[in-house]
């Protein structure tokens, strides 16, 4: 008898879920909205500024080519290397060396952003970096300097209903 009561209560609990909203969202038609601008770092206080860690953005005017980001990544995943760009003449960068990032190796830890003392390398919240071959994942410094694309509408957020949770 107790058996039947417990079985019925599990059936009722399962059927309750049928009348609530679905939690998933349909990916290419709806995209997830991430607030904010991305992860940044303030070298004077030594504390980072909260944000999502996605693709990097490089400010070419501020980068002096000191290679501290390369030295930091040598022990993590060796994804950054310096590249010579002869036709970019910037006053602070005498040898015209800028970082290039290989996204097939990057683990998005953000320690390169922490290492830069000139506020030249930050991270944005763009995470859709898929491609069909390995070579196009190697982002040159000019490609890194392009600001991120705005996420196409419609975007969804996690919302809390009365007793269910859904993306809307």
């Amino acid at each position: 008898m107790v058996f039947i009561i417990k079985l019925l209560s599990s059936i009722i609990s399962g059927m309750n879920q049928v009348f609530k909203r679905r939690m998933t969202f349909r990916y290419p038609d709806q995209r997830l909205f991430i607030e904010g601008d991305g992860y940044k770092y303030d070298p004077k206080t030594g504390i980072g500024i909260n944000g999502y860690r996605g693709r990097h953005i490089l400010y070419l005017e501020k980068c002096t080519g000191c290679s501290l980001c390369v030295m930091m990544c040598q022990g993590i995943s060796q994804a950054i290397e310096m590249k010579n760009l002869p036709n970019k003449q910037i006053t602070v960068n005498k040898k015209s060396m800028f970082p290039q990032i290989d996204y097939s190796k990057c683990v998005y830890c953000g320690f390169c952003v922490d290492a830069c003392p000139f506020e030249a390398l930050f991270e944005t919240n763009e995470y859709e970096l898929v491609s069909y071959d390995r070579e196009s994942l190697l982002f040159t410094p000019e490609q890194l300097a392009i600001p991120p694309k705005k996420r196409p509408e419609p975007t969804v957020n996690l919302k809390y209903g009365d007793s269910d949770v859904y993306h809307g």
Binding site: L7, T45, I47, M72, C109, G110, F111, L158
Partner: protein, 360 residues
């Protein structure tokens, strides 16, 4: 009856990244020998070639679900050697992240328990609810799974203001969901018949074999590193430790559910009491003097400990990691005796064995 030797090997939907060699007599298991080592990557040796900050993304990868639980003891050991004191706000944020990771890891445990029982609804519900907590961790730390958030000296960035409100909503929603889990899974008569009395580990055996974590608490011993050997600010918080005297698989699942409730209450207390202030010491460089130190933390699966020897250089001399899954591996030949073949995957998953963590 004649004996059948079966290898529940790495290519099997009911085993992890390891192999268990079973000897069956009919449908009962007589002998079970685990064969780990398929995922060994030499993490401890690789840690000797990276400096103290570069080790952080490296050492949190084996324990991928519970990343804060893997880095917390390392950071405590380094700070112990450097003799620095971390600001209060950073300690509260560390505890919030550790308890969030505990909930995330336990939800994954319930999901895989369901799928090993053949209950596909119990797989989908915890994994869907885990999204709520991963979103919360994303708001605080910047990534969803492996955060690299704790550094020697504090945490990397500050929490935004909306975390309090989001955490309140998440905890309210999840407390209602735990009641639903009890109706559909824990109190389901078929689940109770399958797991009560199966995979028994008596109290004396648990003490003799040196078991840690929820497995130890399910055998009737009230022991938790957060209360026995307090670290960080746990002595200012008010929580209980669930213990059960029935040493079977059902009580191990029940302890995981109760621990999730306690974790939510800890998070609410921390968010009420958190002071303002800086979150990181502004250290010019991480210079660790020679010496050795040992630190221990209650991760989601048990007690994780680090033994760090430094000789004053840039890289550590020796990092020794002791994970809870490796400590619990010794129980597999003991709890599998007399269990039927159909109950083998739930029994070994019940002790929360994660092969990648055990092999490092």
């Amino acid at each position: 009856m004649s004996k059948l030797s079966l290898s529940v090997g790495p290519q099997h939907p009911g085993s992890g990244h390891m192999r268990i060699i079973l000897t069956l007599s009919g449908d009962y298991i007589i002998e079970a020998i685990p064969d780990p080592g398929y995922v060994h990557r030499g993490e401890e040796k690789l840690a000797e070639y990276r400096n103290y900050i570069q080790n952080i993304p490296h050492l949190e990868r084996p324990v991928v679900l519970d990343a804060t639980g893997a880095i917390f003891p390392y950071v405590l050991a380094v700070e112990d050697l450097m003799n620095i004191i971390v600001p209060e706000r950073a300690q509260f944020i560390r505890v919030i992240m550790a308890e969030l990771n505990r909930i995330i890891s336990h939800l994954y445990y319930m999901a895989i328990y369901g799928i090993f029982m053949g209950h596909s609804t119990m797989f989908m519900w915890p994994v869907g609810d885990r999204e709520v907590f991963i979103d919360l961790a994303n708001t605080i730390a910047g990534q969803r799974v492996t955060y690299a958030f704790l550094v020697p000296g504090g945490v990397r960035n500050d929490m935004p203001e909306k975390v309090k409100e989001q955490a309140d909503k998440a905890c309210n929603y999840f407390e209602k969901r735990l009641i639903e889990y009890e109706h559909i899974f824990m109190n389901n008569p078929l689940f109770e018949k399958r797991t009560k009395g199966v995979g028994i580990l008596p109290k004396q055996d648990a003490i003799r074999l040196g078991v840690v974590g929820p497995t130890l608490r399910a055998s009737g011993i009230k022991s938790d590193v957060r209360k026995d050997d307090t670290y960080s600010i746990y002595n200012q918080l008010d929580f209980e430790i669930p213990v059960s005297n029935a040493c079977d698989s059902w009580s191990r699942a029940w302890i995981h559910m109760e621990e999730m409730r306690q974790s939510m209450s800890i998070i609410k207390q921390c968010l009420k009491r958190i002071p303002t202030g800086p979150v990181k010491l502004n250290l010019k460089q991480i210079k660790v003097p020679p010496g050795e130190s040992y630190s221990r933390v209650e991760a989601a699966r048990g007690s994780l400990s680090y033994y760090l020897i430094s000789d004053g250089g840039k890289v550590p001399y020796r990092v020794r990691i002791m994970t809870p899954s490796f400590r619990n591996l010794i129980t597999i030949p003991y709890i599998m005796k007399g269990v039927m073949l159909a109950d083998m995957p739930p029994t070994y998953w019940g002790i929360d064995y994660w092969p990648v963590e055990a092999d490092r």
